[in-house]
């Protein structure tokens, strides 16, 4: 093991799933003492690469070397034994166990000492007695990171770790990465956000469609050069909203890029015009005094009110786990509130079944596309029309598949959805096209009073993000009220007329995205600033207490 050997050296790595080549002749060198970013759009092969390094997937071809010695993991245990710790995109904590029990599963000696060390060095202190299933996602992510750090790894691999974190938590995590590198170990940070790479990374490798598109020291790779590597076209071709989704523009978008004025890519001509026929005014969707209690008695939604007007796009920002999921479940009809009312165009739908909501004109694009948004094992046509099968009857009893496929064809063409036809299984579509199918289905409601979409562009490539945004703007232009829940602040800033911030079950704000200090104000609200009097100070105090302590020597680079 020579001093100059890289921490991780990968060459000729190839992995196929069926006919799809997820990784194709990938080469990657991670020097010890550095943070190496792996960049790329969704579907570029980043997660597959992580799984290979972590031993969850065995590659078809390729050689891996760890600190100079050959490394060929057959199972995750091999990776752990070699001193590699992973933080997966999907949590790997057993939900029915407590945090402490999950940590004990690692079977590490002198666990208390290690826990103490992680607390001292990184300021991370998990509540060992809390049951994982009771914790919000952001906290789970921190436990996940603690779990990785307890192993004192010589290589830490983080797969999209910041998706569920707020700005302060993200800063702390990136600082943690720097500290690990400073201690002489190596970090692989997988992300699709260029801003994070710029702040924490030393070098980067860009993947596109399973191949290495380029890379090198980040000092020599400004965003203008990284973007074309990632998406295959120049950065200038992106509008502000799209640039925001890859973290290209950390600063506020230029005034006028807001929803009402911004000509989104491919948006219909009516966008931005004040069509005389479209309905305006408040009351399309009205939540009044809505409260949802969790099992432990705390409030997931704490007597919250919100009014979304016709033709208005309202965004909900905030760190995940502050009541957004409950709000969406409430709108979708999966959850009934303990207090308060939900009204759609004046009609009480608080306890209406999902079917009645759909009839009344409430479209919902759920956050978890695979679990709730669609049925991946069924064909596209079925996914489009499952709720309206009565329209496709033959002889009164049989299902008229031909008519259904015909209707589906029209939708696929109209929305520019690329698939193997109406009979193709939903699971065979790319994430972007799946989301377009879900959106097409919800937008086809007649009447469509309100569309509620959670994380509508998560996991989509740039082109699909543009299409989804323009569909949402079109719907709004026709008078539909739109509620967008997103953890991508940049997305909300360009898309919305008004942004509220979810914080501990309350909706704080609103913030006008066209104001110059919108981003800063939202950031402050996400930490509970200007929380209504009374609980405000307590809230802010606790927020500070739970956020990781800043660590000396971690000033953001660049």
């Amino acid at each position: 093991m020579s001093a100059t050997a890289p921490a991780l050296e990968i060459s000729g790595l190839t992995k196929s799933f069926g006919t799809m080549r997820a990784l194709d002749d990938v080469r990657l060198v991670v020097e010890a003492g550095t943070v190496h970013c792996v960049l790329g759009e969704n579907g570029a092969g980043k997660s597959t690469l992580c799984h290979v390094v972590g031993g969850s997937l065995v590659p078809d071809k390729g050689v891996l070397r760890l600190y100079g010695t050959p490394y060929a993991p057959r199972r995750p245990a091999d990776a752990l034994a070699a001193g590699i710790a992973m933080v997966h995109q999907h949590f790997s904590l057993v939900p029915t166990l407590t945090v402490g029990e999950n940590l004990r599963l690692l079977r590490l000696r002198d666990l208390p000492r290690r826990v103490a060390r992680v607390r001292e060095e990184y300021g991370l202190e998990p509540d060992l007695d809390a049951r994982v299933s009771d914790l919000p996602v952001g906290v789970r992510q921190r436990v996940e990171i603690v779990k990785a750090l307890l192993r004192e790894p010589r290589l830490l691999v983080l797969d999209e770790p910041t998706g569920v974190l707020g700005p302060a938590e993200t800063d702390a995590l990136l600082a943690t990465c720097r500290r690990i590198a400073a201690a002489g170990h190596a970090v692989v940070l997988v992300t699709h956000k260029l801003g994070e790479a710029a702040r924490a990374g030393d070098a980067a490798t860009v993947l596109r469609a399973g191949r290495v598109a380029g890379g090198g020291p980040l000092a020599e790779l400004p965003p203008e050069r990284l973007v074309p590597l990632m998406i295959g076209r120049p950065a200038a071709s992106l509008d502000a909203g799209l640039a925001g989704t890859i973290g290209l523009t950390e600063d506020r978008p230029s005034p006028g890029a807001g929803a009402s004025a911004g000509p989104g890519t491919g948006a219909s001509p009516e966008t931005g015009t004040s069509g005389a026929e479209r309905r305006r005014g408040p009351g399309a969707l009205r939540l009044s005094d809505v409260g949802v209690r969790r099992a432990d008695g705390s409030y997931a939604l704490d007597r919250t009110s919100l009014d979304v007007g016709f033709g208005e796009i309202v965004g909900i920002a905030g760190v995940e786990g502050n009541g957004q999921s409950e709000l969406m479940a409430l709108l979708g009809g999966a959850l009934a509130p303990d207090t308060g009312r939900v009204e759609l165009a004046g009609r009480d739908i608080t306890r209406a079944a999902p079917r009645e909501r759909t009839r009344a004109g409430l479209g919902v694009v759920p956050e978890d596309r695979h679990r709730e948004g669609c049925v991946p094992q069924l064909p596209v046509a079925e996914n489009l029309f499952l709720g309206r099968l009565d329209r496709f009857r033959r002889y009164g009893v049989f299902l008229d598949r031909r008519a259904m496929n015909h209707a589906a064809d029209a939708v696929l063409t109209g929305h520019g959805i690329r698939s193997g036809g109406p009979g193709a299984l939903m699971s065979s579509l790319s994430g972007g096209n799946q989301q377009k199918v879900v959106l097409a289905r919800e937008l086809a409601l007649d009447p469509l009073v309100c569309l509620a979409a959670a994380q509508p562009t998560r996991g989509l490539d740039i082109g699909a993000v543009g299409a989804v945004h323009s569909r949402i703007r079109q719907a709004s232009a026709k008078g539909t009220a739109v509620l967008v829940v997103s953890s991508e602040l940049s997305e909300l800033l360009v898309l919305c007329d008004r942004i509220v911030v979810a914080y501990r079950g309350k909706l704080l704000g609103p913030v006008d995205p066209s104001q110059p200090d919108a981003r800063e104000r939202i950031g402050a609200l996400m930490l509970g600033a200007d929380h209504p009097a009374g609980s405000g100070t307590e809230g802010a105090g606790r927020a500070a207490a739970t956020a990781p302590r800043p660590v000396p020597g971690d000033a953001p680079r660049h």
């Binding site: 799984h51 972590g54 969850s56 997937l57 199972r75 995750p76 245990a77 752990l80 034994a81 992973m86 997966h88 949590f91 790997s92 904590l93 057993v94 939900p95 029915t96 166990l97 029990e101 999950n102 004990r104 599963l105 690692l106 079977r107």
Partner: protein, 307 residues
């Protein structure tokens, strides 16, 4: 009256011993995510092999060893199917029971022939001096055969050794709850599941030996008569927790024993009704009418890495 109570308690514990053995293995297996519906078959195989071994060697001790070996072999084949080849656990369980019933019935013609099989050497009760004179508890607990005492020890050891507080118990629970996460923590998922099925086979084999060598000193076709199923049900009634499962076994034993003691107590209870009682209790236990109960999330779901 007290003689009747003695009888009831002693009979209850005697009937509970094979249950205790088998269900303490089955509990671990289910906590690790494998539903062995074939405990009945494992037990029957153990009883057959135990009786055959004892007959051939003239020693009950050798019979215990052959029963153990047969249980392990049976379990290894089943684990190969359900853990390694990921065959459906319900199909393999039910079919393995049928196979065991067929094979032991066929085999007993060959091994025991028409000769009366009650010449098999067996175990005799060993009263613990002093303790066995305690009213009710004495005859119930302290007049067992060596195999019976061993059964108590095995059940207690497994309950303590694999409690959630121990690293082993925690690992088993994690594997049954979320195999992918356990795998990522470096736990050997399939090896643990394989071992849990083997353990179930071993203890069920012993339970079979207890039936054939401690109780009747003979093998007869379908000698288990559903006791193996009852062991699976005890785990359900105990809501996948060790001590409640042990209690359920004892309760089931006493309920069965009541059939014989009822007339002496002057009770008219339908015998089939008593036989059915344990299943009703188990149904009530899992139906959530009394507290919460949850089966391990990964129960019957085979593990495949990278899915």
């Amino acid at each position: 009256m007290s003689a009747v109570l003695d009888e009831l308690a002693a009979g209850g514990v005697r009937l509970a011993i094979p249950l205790l053995l088998a269900s303490s293995g089955e509990l671990l297996s289910e906590r690790a995510g494998v539903l062995n519906l074939s405990v009945e078959g494992m037990m029957l195989t153990g009883a057959f092999a135990g009786a055959a071994g004892a007959l051939a060697s003239g020693s009950a001790g050798v019979g215990v060893l052959t029963a153990l070996a047969a249980g392990l072999l049976f379990a290894a084949l089943q684990a190969l199917l359900s853990v390694v080849l990921r065959a459906d656990q319900i199909v393999t369980g039910i079919t393995a029971n049928a196979l065991a019933l067929g094979a032991t019935t066929y085999g007993s013609r060959l091994v025991f022939g028409d000769a009366s099989a009650d010449s098999v050497p067996g175990f005799d009760p060993i009263p613990v001096p002093g303790l066995h004179r305690i009213p009710v508890l004495g005859p119930a607990l302290f007049e067992q055969t060596a195999l019976g005492y061993a059964a108590f020890a095995v059940a207690a050891a497994l309950a303590l050794g694999f409690s959630r507080r121990t690293g082993w118990g925690l690992a088993v629970d994690a594997i049954g709850e979320d195999a992918t996460t356990a795998d990522r923590c470096g736990l050997p998922v399939r090896a643990v599941r394989f071992a849990a099925v083997l353990l179930t086979g071993a203890v069920s084999g012993l339970a079979g030996a207890q039936l054939a060598l401690s109780e009747v000193h003979a093998f007869s076709d379908n000698i288990t008569g559903g006791i193996g199923h009852l062991a699976v049900v005890a785990v359900i009634a105990g809501r996948w927790l060790a001590w409640p499962t042990i209690l359920a076994c004892l309760f089931f034993g006493v309920a069965q024993s009541l059939q014989f003691a009822a007339p002496a107590l002057g009770l008219h209870v339908s015998a089939p009704l008593l036989t059915t009682l344990p299943y009703v209790v188990a149904l009530l236990a899992v139906s959530g009418l009394v507290g919460r109960s949850r089966a391990p999330s990964g129960l019957t779901v085979p593990f495949l890495r990278g899915s």
